[in-house]
Symmetry: C2
Subunit: 512 residues, 2 copies
């Protein structure tokens, strides 16, 4: 329980004790100097317009995740020449390792199951989770276009399971779930389409500067080709002209310990992260340097389904979101009691786990894992454990046995009556009491997962400057932007956000 020790807390905060200890000593130092620089490390300097451009395209897209690929496909469809630049040696960014869930309202799958939903209801859920800090005009587009966005991915070849998943904070089940339980199920068809369309996708290419030419706005980019992440100054400087626009779709910065520590000093390197190593802040900061307006940058989300027995995103979260949270319980081992609605929004759940001061335990029975993919792998890796009885499970995780017995008994009565009297978790009709062996358990501890804030954009996905005007030639979509999700993003809303605004950015950039 090394990690739990690091995070032992008696309040609702990550490593509170450690933080106080640190804060109690000499000036501890926050930020870049203290935590190691992930981005360029050079003074924020502008690049001049080059005498000669090495390459030119109508639209230059930075990043090859959901948002970047959607922008590229729609810009190309609109007739523009397009290049996609990806700093990592593999395409797909964080999208290709994400959970493969995509929220949408009023979809065919929902209708099939008789689930009543609407953009209005999805808006309500999204604003409630976002603490009403969402930019309403962006959230509105996001929900209105959600169902069409899923359809669009299906047309490209994405394959989804035949029923929607019910994730925390959503009033109804509305999340499409790829058959391979991974964002790769959406990214790969998009990559295939990009290839078919003849759009070059240039890997190992780092954006170093946006190039601004006075009133013309952004006219191109200075990049490093054959860049070896995260080696500063590696690769060769190349200038690419963007005749119509640059789309920033380089993702969030949850893995940028330096910058995230400036925004929230609790989230230092002791906090694990679900993101790929390239989820760093340098493109965001370059846009700030060019006068883009920062929005809600300090709202950094922790995933409540993180498992401390594996690194990064891992696979254990699948058991949590498709098994223990909807069909089982999460308990505090100290007393065996539930302590939060297992389908509340991520912030509420993550804060609740942190507040206990130690790992929580997710529990489900055989019926509860009916929809849990990769269970065998989790068992093989020792992330999820299997037990013949709840007593054995309690003994293994050192859960108060009588407490757990009572919790399960009470919970089962709620399931029977369709009413979680204690925490108000929405119970699905198909839910069954926790009673059928074998039983499964997993330890839970939050990990840094998503950065809600970023660049301010308008409904055309244009990046806005500090006076509220669009920066000519500059568009952005996905996790690098702020506003759609407000303070707290709901699970599976990110994929939708990226597709919806990636497409809008690509379409508008192509217009120039």
């Amino acid at each position: 329980m090394t990690m739990a020790k690091n995070h032992e807390v008696n309040g609702a905060n990550v490593s509170r004790r450690g933080f106080l200890k640190k804060a109690g000593g000499a000036a501890a130092g926050v930020g870049l100097a203290a935590s190691g620089l992930m981005f360029s490390g050079k003074p924020a300097q502008a690049a001049e317009v080059p005498k000669k451009w090495d390459k030119e395209y109508d639209v230059v897209v930075i990043g090859s995740g959901f948002a970047g690929l959607a922008a590229a496909i729609d810009a190309k469809t609109a007739g523009a020449s397009v290049i996609v630049l990806e700093k990592m040696p593999v395409p797909g960014g964080n999208s290709i390792i994400n959970g493969g869930l995509m929220a949408a309202a009023g979809t065919p799958l929902q209708k099939k199951e008789g689930i009543k939903d609407s953009p209005e209801l999805m808006m309500k859920d999204t604003l409630k989770a976002g603490l009403y800090m969402n930019h309403p005009e962006l959230a509105r587009i996001f929900v209105d276009d959600s169902a069409a966005a899923v359809e669009w991915t299906i047309k490209l070849g994405a394959k989804y399971k035949d029923r929607v998943t019910h994730l925390g904070g959503h009033t109804v089940p509305r999340s499409y779930y790829t058959t391979n339980s991974s964002g790769a199920g959406i990214v790969r068809p998009m990559l295939k389409k990009v290839k078919e369309m003849g759009i070059p996708l240039q890997k190992k290419t780092l954006l170093e500067n946006l190039i601004i030419d006075g009133d013309k706005g952004v006219v191109g980019v200075k990049v490093r080709e054959k860049y070896a992440f995260p080696k500063k100054d590696s690769g060769k400087v190349v200038y690419i002209k963007a005749k119509k626009g640059v789309v920033m779709a380089s993702g969030g910065f949850a893995n940028d310990v330096a910058f995230r520590t400036i925004q929230d000093p609790k989230l230092d390197k002791s906090v694990d992260c679900t993101n790929h190593p390239g989820a760093t802040a340098e493109s965001l900061l370059e846009a700030f340097r060019c006068g883009a307006t920062p929005v809600q940058v300090s709202w950094i989300q922790l995933g409540p389904w993180g498992c401390p027995d594996e690194k990064g995103m891992g696979i254990g979260y699948i058991f949590a979101i498709s098994g223990a949270f909807p069909f089982g319980v999460m308990v505090d081992p100290k007393d065996g009691k539930r302590f939060v609605n297992e389908l509340a929004n991520r912030k509420i759940r993550a804060d609740a786990i942190l507040k206990t001061g130690h790992y929580a335990i997710g529990v489900a029975d055989q019926n509860g894992v009916k929809y849990t993919a990769k269970l065998d792998k989790m068992l093989e890796r020792g992330i999820v454990k299997k037990f013949n009885t709840l007593d054995e499970l309690a003994a293994y995780y050192k859960i108060d046995k009588k407490g757990l017995e009572k919790t399960v008994k009470d919970y089962n009565s709620y399931v029977k009556n369709g009413n979680d009297k204690e925490f108000g978790k929405p119970l699905r009709k198909s839910a069954k009491p926790i009673a059928t062996a074998p039983f499964y358990g997993m330890r839970l501890w939050p990990k840094a997962h998503h950065t809600m804030g970023g660049l301010q954009i308008n409904p055309k996905a244009q990046v806005l400057d500090l006076t509220g005007e669009p920066i000519k030639g500059l568009y952005a979509a996905g996790e690098i932007t702020g506003g759609v999700h407000g303070a707290v993003r709901l699970g599976s809303n990110a994929t939708t956000d990226c597709i919806v605004f990636g497409r809008i950015a690509g379409q508008n950039a192509a217009k120039g």
Copy 2:
């Protein structure tokens, strides 16, 4: 109850219903375009280094509140020539209309009353309120220097009441309170000192640009003299050289509806504000344009002691913070019950009031207003009302009579036992049961009050750029910075922050 109607809510958020309504319509628009531009409104453009400077000083201070004046005095003391620029026609910014409270740990007044306090305890309170988002190295300096900062103001001539006040979120009473219950009690002696030292304080002078000269960093400012706030382009452009440094001490942006709406769309013009009209964002944005790192900008504080029966900061808050909150109760008129620890931090209290969906009522008896200054004025203006009995008070505010009776009876038993069993409010030894006529009441509704976020600074008050390096020649202090307070600022911590870091900024700027 017009305002309550605007803010009728059933969740914990400002104008939630209105917000949903707005969000439900066509793209509502957030920010500058939608809410009217308070700042320059021109594209964020750099100013060139002028061929000839109109004036020159070692140190140019922007803003004449606590932080700016402290910087000016200490820079001058260190031997620098100094000018203070103030955009408004009157000096003192928000400081001169603030409540005149200043928190410090381990002070002579505390010792006199036998109150045990330490920088360590103040640090704990500050971090807890700040949700551990505070930059620890800044918070540490702030608490360590707090007592010396109060002493410094006393040496300059500030006069304080002979006992410390107990404000929400502070474990112990530690707030010095000016005899005139206003920040003017501190600002006026500072202004006098500035005059004595021969430091020019130039009013109606707007900072339009920081002027950067390549590697030399900030070398001066472009300003508008005879500027008529808030008239764009009014006044005459003048260039002032800063041979050693520029200190940004221009305050927060709580009254900048445009920019605060970008950071938190709930805080639109329907939300009142306690700040002076000049509490706008243009200097902050100019520093961002020059590459300063934004920190926690979306954390905007609402004051829970706002009275809807007067505009702006007003005077009713004095009754709340020195009467009803420490010595009385705050109740929900619907049932007459208390609903929050009246001395919790501002965010907890403001959220709790908003959650009720209507005004709360603050109640105190004759003993409870013993330390309440300006009570006559509040009565005269109808902000606070006086009653012979609690029944009369209940009738006037439409409080459930039996509910209030029970609440007061219970609360009085807590006072007798020295233990608030319901909400854990720390009860002072001098507290008495609410029983002595006349009784006083006031309506309460939160107002935008303080912006916790802003420019990132290091312990030397140097402004840091997006790569983590200090921007040469640029310093900042007070509400324009972020980090000291984290997510939530405790009452009376702002004054201390301004004095402590204003002095540090002035001293370091003078070194050049």
